[in-house]
Symmetry: C2
Subunit: 309 residues, 2 copies
């Protein structure tokens, strides 16, 4: 069995870590959302790729949900004194990642290539792939009509504005590496990331969704909703603003053409029937990943579920 995981940042990275404990690096490929990539202080920052790398290499700041443990802030403290733009603060160690990336991108290497090098530089197998090499920008039209860049919404405004519409700007195409991955793997797992801000951007890559449906027969979504709430982040708030019930059913509808399997939390076991009625295979288990064991267990449950159904 070999698995492609689609992942955003924090929540997705937790399951990706669990999967990486259960599968060899040949059996697992992780496609990361790059729809929230953006330039800060002139450097391309890829938050989801970096959260995956830091999580899988055991360096992530687990309480904070982003960045590195034991980080220092010499550069941005100085930039702040200089009156520079510092609402998107980058730690010193984290900056080394962005400089490493910037140097190689400037030499003309693809983001896919550079990401593999970054994995190795952080001591993990190079099986994290950006969804594409071209830019795709996630933008949020908010109440009042303003359109925010992802990080203006997510970091600067702390997800407070009411979102009326999510827009994607860019026309990313399938990279050769992603084509080869899809042809080489026989399972898909959509990690419990934000369906609208983390997984949807991946599905904007031209031809990716149809290629997956054609090539990969078993396609599982792990619902990010537990008891009408998201574990972390703006998923539930966003669903309300988009006038969607905060339910597993809404998640299932969102992935209607893509998912064949769904995992929901045991707190939501009453949803099983309606999800099965939508044609999905359903597993009810613990989806809240607090400890490393939780992550491994959910990964194991997901792999067994895909194996036997």
């Amino acid at each position: 069995m070999s698995v492609i995981a689609l992942s955003g940042g924090v929540g997705g990275a937790k399951l990706a870590l669990g999967l990486s404990a259960q599968l060899s690096s040949e059996e697992l490929a992780i496609i990361a959302n790059t729809g929230d990539d953006g330039f800060h202080s002139g450097l391309l920052v890829c938050p989801d790729i970096d959260t995956l790398i830091y999580t899988l290499s055991g360096q992530s700041h687990s309480e904070q949900g982003w960045g590195l443990q034991n980080e220092s802030w010499s550069v941005f403290d100085q930039l702040e004194k200089m009156g520079g733009e510092t609402w998107f603060r980058l730690g010193d160690k984290d900056l080394a990642t962005h400089l490493f990336r910037a140097e190689r991108l400037q030499q003309g290497q693809s983001l896919t290539h550079v990401t593999a090098a970054l994995c190795k530089a952080h001591g993990i197998p190079p099986n994290i792939y950006p969804m594409c090499n071209e830019p795709l920008q996630t933008k949020l039209k908010i109440e009042g009509g303003r359109v925010l860049d992802f990080h203006e919404y997510f970091v600067k405004e702390q997800c407070k504005p009411k979102v009326k519409q999510i827009q994607f700007v860019g026309e990313p195409s399938l990279s050769n590496e992603i084509v080869a991955l899809i042809e080489r793997h026989d399972r898909l797992i959509m990690c419990p990331s934000n369906p609208f801000l983390s997984i949807d951007p991946i599905l904007q890559v031209s031809g990716l969704q149809s290629k997956i449906v054609n090539e990969i027969p078993k396609r599982l979504v792990v619902s990010p909703i537990i008891n009408g709430q998201a574990v972390k982040g703006p998923t539930a708030k966003l669903m309300q603003e988009l006038a969607l019930p905060v339910t597993n059913e809404s998640v299932a509808k969102k992935y209607q053409t893509l998912a064949t399997h769904i995992i929901i939390d045991q707190q939501d076991k009453q949803d099983r029937a309606s999800l099965e009625a939508m044609g999905l295979k359903v597993l009810v288990t613990n989806t809240l990943m607090k400890t490393l064991d939780d992550k491994k267990q959910l990964a194991e449950d997901a792999l067994n579920f895909l194996d036997r159904t």
Copy 2:
């Protein structure tokens, strides 16, 4: 009296500091060499502009000759651990300058504009100007035929290769700001920087030299040579490799069409006659700038010399 100073890094910055103590910021404009600018870790680094800013704001590392006092190295220590490219090490505080610049350049601001903002960010008047807004690259053809970028020669190879030829790549044009400066000031001082690697690149800017000659009647060069040696840096070694005697006469010949006045060190007073024979007005004084007082004194000597001759 108002003065334009042409300056490279360390040696030039010393006299620029002296001049800034003698003149108001309206009376002094410093045009910095950008021919050794280059990208490191994806960020544009402007060594001569930055040395000038750090020197004039009292932050420069005086023993080292580049960079900042009390610097820390968190980012590059991490980049080194990651196996990144680290032969051109950038300190944490210094990086804040490069990020400040990168952010604004990416927004489409000109280097002239960003440099003014950087001066203010470091607490000094915005009277340091890049010689142009476009890139000009200084390259060195060395023995054996290889062509090195400036920093490969200067930092990576520590000026050890024998230089056969200096090449300039790029076609920089006069910026509106430099045109206005030349029209507004009535004295020119070429600081004791390397004539070949620091001042020559400035003179590559199309139309700059003839504009200066037409608009500014008194044009002084402060010789960087003392008793057949350069105070710091590869000037003397380079002159030997280019088959030029390491003398004030060679410096004078280099600036033959540009300079009307020259200052040489008291150790070289015997050179006065031959320099006067070349049509130059000559001042013999102390040109070695060890202390702040030395810098102020040389600046005062230069200003008086231009005033009275």
